[in-house]
């Protein structure tokens, strides 16, 4: 074993830069993807057109509130231009603040204060219109409260100098003073992916698992490079059989991966504030063991490195989709639970050690190892 490690070290020294690149690849990719994803999410805005037909303060305040909404980008336009742009899909939707907006609010009537236009490709119409409606609702609600105060005063026969504007100002003051009701979404359980809201668009461990999938496959290309007749012949002159040579080297690689994985777990704790736990480490090791065995067996079957690389990329791409990294899979998983087993990341993302694939690979590896060696027998 010591000989194996020594020869491997010499070989690594020669390709140290490349080796380092692929070992650090998962960490770096995760960092880039998470960072870019978050800036994209923060700056992604829905373009909407606002047509201001009412020239009053209340209408302008409404426009200001819409304008200040973080996920909306507003363009003030006249109606014709706005609708033309909507038709050309340069705007998601158009909202017309109708003339007499303030007048109607003051009178406590609230029918059709806003006209909303959506096109058939408006992807974000519902959340935007919800938001704008809640702003209008605020105005309408304040007005309703002002009338309620008037009613109350009359009901109790209290003399009260009722003034709509004063009461609206009071109500706004109260609202400003208190940040009232909030919601918070949490997910229980010990899964690796922590989807609690307000965090990253892409889950660091999920991205890591995919990047590690690719880099592990690519790093196992030594199997192909060393599994050729010219090299295999030399084993006759040593006391190591080719099979045990390959398997022992695989151990060395897996040990190397595990070391890097531990560092990764610590790094992610500091970079992404991901919780560090024993279950996490156990499932990382289980996952990496599985893909290492899979890569090893795959590499044994293939003769040409380029074909192997191409397959590695294609498998990674399929994993990206089946693991739900880009598009969540919940709907499909409900209908076809067996999809869970096809996803190589399933066990890892659930925080488990054992994936069915690991079992399959171990069995295949044992069968392969148990078979008679061709080269020893032939020579």
């Amino acid at each position: 074993m010591i000989n194996i490690i020594q020869t491997r070290l010499i070989q690594w020294k020669k390709h140290s830069l490349q080796l380092l690149f692929w070992l650090l690849f998962p960490i770096v990719v995760t960092w880039i993807v998470v960072t870019v994803g978050n800036t994209f999410q923060d700056d992604m805005k829905i373009p909407i057109g606002i047509v201001l037909q009412d020239d009053t303060i209340l209408a302008k305040d409404l426009y200001e509130s819409i304008h200040a909404t973080p996920f909306i980008r507003t363009y003030t336009l006249d109606e014709r231009e706005a609708l033309h742009k909507l038709e050309k899909h340069e705007l998601d939707s158009v909202f017309v603040i109708q003339e007499g907006y303030e007048e109607h609010i003051r009178q406590g009537s609230r029918n059709a204060l806003i006209t909303a236009y959506e096109s058939d490709v408006s992807l974000a119409y519902t959340p935007v219109s919800e938001m704008i409606m809640s702003y209008v609702q605020q105005d309408a609600g304040r007005s309703k409260a002002a009338y309620a105060v008037k009613e109350l005063a009359e009901q109790l026969h209290v003399h009260f100098d009722w003034n709509w504007d004063d009461l609206i100002v009071r109500s706004k003051e109260i609202e400003k003073k208190q940040d009232l009701l909030q919601t918070r979404l949490t997910f229980p359980g010990n899964g690796i992916v922590h989807r609690d809201e307000g965090k990253n668009l892409f889950q660091p461990w999920h991205i890591w698992a995919l990047a590690a999938f690719l880099s592990t496959l690519l790093l196992f290309d030594w199997v192909i490079k060393e599994n050729n007749p010219a090299i295999l012949k030399r084993f006759v002159f040593t006391n190591v059989s080719p099979k045990s040579y390959f398997v022992r080297n695989m151990y060395v690689y897996i040990a190397l991966f595990f070391t890097i994985d531990l560092l990764t777990a610590f790094a992610f704790k500091y970079i992404f504030d991901e919780p560090l736990s024993l279950t996490l480490i156990v499932s990382i090791l289980g996952y990496h063991l599985m893909i290492s065995l899979g890569a090893f067996l795959l590499a044994l079957m293939i003769r040409k490195t380029f074909v192997y690389y191409a397959i590695a990329f294609i498998l990674t791409f399929i994993s990206v989709i089946v693991s739900g990294a880009i598009i969540p899979l919940d709907g499909l998983l409900g209908r076809y639970p067996w999809l869970h087993f096809l996803n190589p990341l399933a066990a890892f993302l659930d925080g488990d050690f054992f994936h069915i694939g690991l079992g399959v690979f171990i069995v295949i590896l044992l069968l392969w190892y148990g078979r008679k060696e061709e080269y020893h027998a032939a020579s």
Partner: protein
């Protein structure tokens, strides 16, 4: 000069032979992007059309036990404000938690103790929603719903506080006031629920052809072309042993001639396949095009495909490690696809990204294809695509010559 052409044509013949020898891989190559895109489409449609028979189950845990909460929960459960896709049930907390573990609930909402009292006193309150990990999407929908409900409560609350203030000022005693506020709370909550009439909603249907379905079918076609080009270009790649490389150098054959032959062959095959695919799409979507439109679309696809292949070639010349080269090609391809707007329409991109987009040729190509097919434009601009081709070609030639010189 004649040598160059004969070399290239030799390599082209060689490539064609290679394809013939591995003909069984062709269907796989052609179907790969279609299968993947189909898979993505299935996932997408499953995401947006949750099983209709199975509504989202939400548990409501009421730790407050006040009249107001009961009013809210009955209003929510009885009115179909939330629609038929949601099923609410009031539960004890430990039961809700058990049902969540059993995957019966998508999420449950906890109204904390003293919820109403705090609301009346203007203290900040947190509603916690506990989501089911296995149904994260539905949990997010619940979160959206609760956000909408809390927004209603929030707007009502400031007004309730105002009324409380004035009722106090007008000399109402505590018990009476409490009763009065409850009435007002109810009234404001129902007032909020009927907000839909605030808005007059109209839908603008401009063209029969401009639905998301049309958009994404065209996008799928466009993405398939790019993926095919990547696959064919690499499928034709052949690892040459050092000995053969040396021999070829002696014959005066250059690496770039070999690459160029692959560019030509992949371009030729993909143009034919994508034309067939396009005819199929047109059958299904039934949009009308004039003969000139076909030419315009053909020119756009030709120019953008050529640019893309030249970029792949440049990467191949620069990056010698096979692993790294594939990685670079895949990353560049991914970026070109994402930025083209085929996945998410460009208007939703952050402004900082949109500034860059005018330099991305796939964005330009996809924009004009959309204009022609979906918006009935009778015009297309090729300048940017031509310039892009020119730049790529020059970079490729310069790099190849420089590399040739370095090696020699």
């Amino acid at each position: 000069m004649i040598h160059i052409f004969s070399h290239i044509s030799l390599f082209i013949k060689n490539n064609v032979k290679q394809i013939k020898r591995k003909w069984y891989l062709l269907p796989l190559l052609l179907l790969f992007p279609i299968i993947l895109i189909g898979l993505i489409a299935i996932i997408f449609s499953a995401l947006f059309q949750p099983e209709k028979a199975d509504p989202i189950h939400i548990g409501l845990v009421d730790l407050d036990q006040s009249k107001e909460i009961q009013m809210i929960t009955t209003a929510l459960t009885e009115t179909n404000h939330l629609g038929s896709m949601v099923k609410l049930s009031v539960l004890k907390e430990h039961i809700a938690s058990e049902q969540l573990d059993d995957n019966q609930l998508s999420a449950y909402v906890v109204f904390p103790k003293d919820f109403t009292n705090h609301l009346y006193q203007g203290k900040s309150v947190k509603l916690s929603i506990v989501g089911n990990n296995q149904r994260a999407n539905e949990a997010y929908i619940v979160k959206e719903l609760m956000d909408s409900v809390t927004r209603h409560i929030n707007t009502s609350q400031a007004n309730i506080l105002l009324l409380n203030d004035y009722a106090d000022r007008f000399g109402m005693d505590y018990g009476e006031r409490r009763e009065y506020l409850f009435e007002q709370f109810k009234s404001f909550f129902l007032f909020s629920l009927s907000k839909d009439k605030l808005m007059d909603e109209e839908k603008l249907v401009n063209e029969a052809t401009a639905s998301p379905f049309h958009y994404y079918t065209i996008a799928a076609w466009f993405v398939s072309i790019i993926v095919w080009l990547l696959l064919f270009f690499n499928f034709l790649y052949k690892e040459d042993v050092v000995r053969i490389k040396k021999r070829m150098m002696l014959y005066g054959v250059k690496e770039w001639q070999q690459i160029l032959a692959r560019v030509i062959v992949s371009l030729f095959i993909v143009m034919i396949v994508s034309a067939l695919f396009f005819i199929g799409i047109q059958r299904v979507l039934a949009f009308e095009l004039y003969v000139e439109d076909y030419f315009r679309i053909g020119i756009i696809i030709f120019l953008s495909s050529l640019s893309y292949l030249m970029i792949l070639s440049v990467i191949e010349v620069i990056v010698t490690s096979q692993k790294l080269r594939l990685l670079c090609q895949v990353i560049v391809t991914g970026l070109l696809i994402v930025l083209s707007g085929a996945l998410l329409p460009v208007i939703y991109f952050p402004l900082a990204f949109q500034d860059v987009l005018s330099y991305v040729f796939t964005t330009e190509a996809f924009y004009w294809i959309q204009e022609i097919i979906l918006n009935d434009r009778f015009y297309a601009e090729y300048n940017m695509l031509l310039i892009m081709n020119g730049i790529c070609l020059i970079v490729f030639i310069v790099l190849s010559l420089w590399k040739e010189r370095v090696r020699a």
